[in-house]
């Protein structure tokens, strides 16, 4: 627990350090560029992108529902991470203190872009139907719903993956039936999130 709280405090520290002013970054980039310091301008622009990713992540968190079925969101676990490079930006929200239910969004990642094309190949392992997996449509988006066993109380656990171009929304819904998962997924304003993260 102590380790966990240290991790959280480090995370918050990092977030506050990363939360820089976008306009200042762009101004720095402009002055470095005008002075011919290309590497410095590059660095400032990378900072600016991280700043945008942080803001977008926070906006996305605002759009996520406060409850998943009967599980309330755990605000202290809300997390936004901005990375330049392969990982992209991630947004995380947990539901229920001990359920393990969560929504995870990874955006602007080339790795996700290739994962999504993989998900769209039915035979390779993505959009197919078998005893545990099926393809569903959530607000018009083709998605993959997978049953992942039962929780301690004997209620089913589900994972729902909704791929966009270079983003992926993964909903882990533990301890609820399929209808509850679907109604939660349909309560997320996907079009608004898509407009923000694409």
């Amino acid at each position: 627990m102590k380790k966990y709280s240290i991790f959280i405090s480090i995370l918050f520290f990092t977030l506050s350090v990363n939360a820089q002013d976008f306009s200042k970054d762009i101004a720095d980039a402009k002055s470095s560029y005008a002075a011919g310091k290309l590497a410095d301008a590059h660095f400032s622009l990378e900072q600016a992108i991280q700043e945008i990713d942080m803001i977008v992540g926070k906006e996305v968190l605002k759009l996520l529902p406060a409850k998943m079925n009967d599980q309330a969101s755990v605000e202290k676990d809300d997390q936004v991470t901005a990375n330049v490079g392969f990982v992209g930006a991630t947004v995380h929200r947990s539901y229920g203190d001990t359920t393990g239910s969560q929504v995870e969004i990874i955006s602007n990642s080339p790795l996700i872009a290739s994962l999504n094309s993989f998900l769209n190949m039915p035979l390779v392992g993505g959009m197919m139907r078998n005893s545990t997996t099926k393809v569903v449509k959530i607000q018009g988006y083709k998605s993959r719903l997978e049953k992942q066993g039962d929780n301690d109380n004997g209620k089913p656990n589900y994972q729902l993956q909704i791929p966009f171009k270079s983003a992926l929304i993964t909903i882990t819904a533990n301890g609820m039936d399929e209808n509850a998962v679907m109604s939660f997924a349909n309560s997320i304003p996907l079009d608004k999130i898509a407009a923000l993260i694409q």
Binding site: F22, S23, I26, A29, K30, Y33, L38, A39, D40, A41, H42, F43, L45, E46, A48, I49, I52, D53, I55, V56, E59, V84, G85, F86, N108, P110, L123, M128, N130, A195, L196, I197, Q198
Partner: protein, 264 residues
């Protein structure tokens, strides 16, 4: 159900090349019969007739393939100018104030790309015109920038003696070699004591730690990690020995490369 899908897939995969296999067999058959005819004709002195036959068959085969047009040339794609960095930064600012974050991000990425391409061209200009008797081949100059930040920026220049000796220098974050570099500097002893011939070893280039490797098919590869994330790689084909490789590498100013990339 899974089995049925699997079998259907296999059937589909096999059925596609079946038609092309039939064509291939037909062609092979034609080739074999023409070879046999040729051998018989040369023995019977019937060569002139055979030539006439073959030319007629060639023209008929040309006429069948002539149905499908073949691209004979075009001017290709125009080289567009790299993104205008100042304009992109202005756009980013405007979109950001309008809370249009997606467009702001796109504009910043365009600005980043523009800067990376300029950086690449600056670096290429600073590289020597010839090294170790090889001239630069500017037709193969490459500056590649992807929208994913520093990670995939690559600058490439090729030097060649117009025969079979060639050196390719790549500057940037070379994903292909980063694993090798990390493995080597992580546990050097594991690679060094591999028997009588050393295929990989550690050297220094202008005071920078580096590794050099030799592969029968690829020739020499010299890798100098620069700063935190970049590296300079020389791939040398048909070099006589490692001294030649080192001389070539020393013709480049690594400190200047570091400075341009903003690395320490």
């Amino acid at each position: 159900m899974k089995k049925i899908i699997f079998l259907l897939a296999i059937g589909f995969i096999l059925s596609v090349p079946a038609t092309s296999n039939a064509q291939l067999l037909k062609k092979l058959k034609e080739k074999a019969s023409s070879a046999v005819n040729k051998a018989i004709d040369s023995k019977t002195g019937n060569e002139t007739q055979e030539n006439a036959n073959s030319s007629s068959s060639e023209s008929s085969s040309q006429s069948t393939s002539g149905n499908r047009p073949v691209n004979k040339g075009g001017v290709g794609l125009k080289n567009t100018a790299p993104p205008d960095v100042n304009a992109a930064m202005e756009d980013a600012n405007k979109s950001f104030t309008a809370n249009n974050y997606s467009d702001a991000r796109y504009s910043v990425q365009q600005a980043l790309m523009g800067i990376e391409i300029q950086l690449g061209h600056e670096l290429l200009k600073s590289l020597p015109a010839n090294v170790d008797g090889m001239d630069k081949d500017t037709t193969q100059d490459k500056v590649v920038s992807t929208q994913w930040g520093w990670n995939n920026m690559t600058i490439q220049r090729v030097y060649s003696d117009k025969k079979d000796k060639q050196c390719t220098i790549t500057i940037g974050n070379n994903m292909l070699y980063s694993g090798l570099v990390n493995a080597y500097f992580g546990n050097a002893y594991a690679v060094e004591s591999n028997g009588k011939d050393q295929n990989v070893k550690q050297v220094k280039v202008q005071g920078n730690k580096a590794i050099i490797s030799y592969d029968e098919s690829k020739g020499y590869t010299l890798i100098v990690p620069v700063g935190q994330s970049s590296m300079v790689v020389w791939e040398c084909i048909n070099f006589a020995n490692e001294d030649e490789v080192m001389n070539t590498a020393n013709a480049f100013n690594i400190d200047n490369i570091k400075k341009t990339l903003g690395e320490k």
